[in-house]
Subunit: 335 residues, 2 copies
Amino acid sequence: MKVRVVLDAMGGDFAPQEIIKGGVLAKKEYKKDLELLLVGDKHIIEEELKKRGADFKDFEIIHAPEIIKMADSPAKAVKRKKESSIVRGIELLKNNYADAFVSAGSTGAVVAGSVLNLGLLPGIMRPGIAILVPSLKGKTLIIDVGANIDPKPIHLLQYAVMGRAYYKLILGKDNVKIGILNIGEEETKGTEFLKETRLLLQKSDLNFIGNVEAKDIYSGKCEVIVCDGFAGNIALKVSEGFAEIMSKFLFDNLRKGFLGKLGLLFIKEGLKNFKKIIDYSEYGGAPLLGVNGIVIISHGRSNAKAIKNAIKVAITEVERNLNEKITQEIKNVRM
Amino acid sequence: MKVRVVLDAMGGDFAPQEIIKGGVLAKKEYKKDLELLLVGDKHIIEEELKKRGADFKDFEIIHAPEIIKMADSPAKAVKRKKESSIVRGIELLKNNYADAFVSAGSTGAVVAGSVLNLGLLPGIMRPGIAILVPSLKGKTLIIDVGANIDPKPIHLLQYAVMGRAYYKLILGKDNVKIGILNIGEEETKGTEFLKETRLLLQKSDLNFIGNVEAKDIYSGKCEVIVCDGFAGNIALKVSEGFAEIMSKFLFDNLRKGFLGKLGLLFIKEGLKNFKKIIDYSEYGGAPLLGVNGIVIISHGRSNAKAIKNAIKVAITEVERNLNEKITQEIKNVRM
């Protein structure tokens, strides 16, 4: 059976062009697994599809003329803008008309809209956004990177359980090591909130290794790192800024002088692979875990490739019954 | 007049070897500006100096046999371990026997020891660790990166004033732009603490540009970014971990295949310059601003070059009367 994915055509810095282009790419690549619904302003969507020479029959268009802007208060916007692509998109999940929702629009609105309209999975108290980043040993999952900036220790325990379930689902690795993002490994480090979280995780039956430092996100000391959404968001966005400046410094320096320019020709392939590793668009979207539906949040600066990959993530989560597994694991965990 | 710098010979992952090597390098390079005091276990220091063929007359050794370990509680350690290199080193400043203290040891202990023994500058309520990182437009100063993980809005206002003074002193740029590290630029973003901080900075006469995102640390959107010590520490350490993994991925990919290896020969110079930009040891230490004395905190993993550069920072701060300037600016700022 095909997975029915709703794509928010209006969300993101490069919407609607890059979003719809990503949808068209995904439809081509995952033809046999995917039914794609595009939600947003019908006229704009049709125009974009026409421009790309796409076959209208390949897509279902859901008209939603309102747009939630980045400056809108998320909680208010999802209550007032019922005709927005985010609210309509999430409603399609709620009404079982579709299986997953992908949006590069306002993260706050997607989170608020999902909690309000889909509700949370049984036993879950707060949702968290999870993201996979490359590490020296494979991949690290960070949760939460921005759904909940003021969580309680119990929420982080639940993030750990959800993160572990997601890691297993996507990467096949069981009972992965869990760490708490902190400013030092020692028990005495960090805020009271983190010290309480540490005690809670120690009591659980998770494979908990204690505090990890921010550099361990990339060293791969553990597979899942839990943190509040503020710290997680900082960690993620610093990396982004750093990747940009490093690339620029690297190329500026390599381009200097004749030898450097010549050398660049030889290392083209290597650089291409390198860029692929650090390019966030390769990783697609970040799942909003804990809500009663499959919701994928894509980066605001998503290009077509990022959207295509986010749709792939959505298909995988639906096919592998992520939310059933999370519900089961939350029931079983010792808290 | 020469600046008298105390170097903590026992602090840091590579102490005493790299620390003392750094001291010897600094003494050679800044001969006419520097009198260097080495604090720590006398026998170990002498042995290290001997190994390097250094002239004992070039250094004053202050015996301090105790060591504060990373696992020690900072507040307790500075009260109990009176014979530690950190406590003795700071005492030399307090007694006006030296002008500056440089340590790669326990950050918490250096902060606690400084506050306890030196006290704060007039008007300052909390100290903050400032660090300069490269940006697309020059340099960004982040304060605080770990002295105070639970600050109040007024502390961040004072960080802004101190950061501005430091930026001017070191880089000569006046009235620089100030931003608050947050998870989004919009006024509605972030914790209540950050919203209050924003109001406070808006009312001040600082050149305040509002919230900035973590990626702006490297984009250079403003020159000074204020944050709580937890967020700042995360931002800094993520960068460190990311620099490591990027370098590894880059070289792994470049080395693949014959052309890549050949190309690497041509781009050697460019890569060297690139590495220099992202190498924290080039930037030396981070000043602990707000305490009544010049205290430089070096990275725990400091090598000799990092120590040498930290000593250079200390000399500059003393020569340019940093603390007088901070005291003046704090007096003048509208709060």
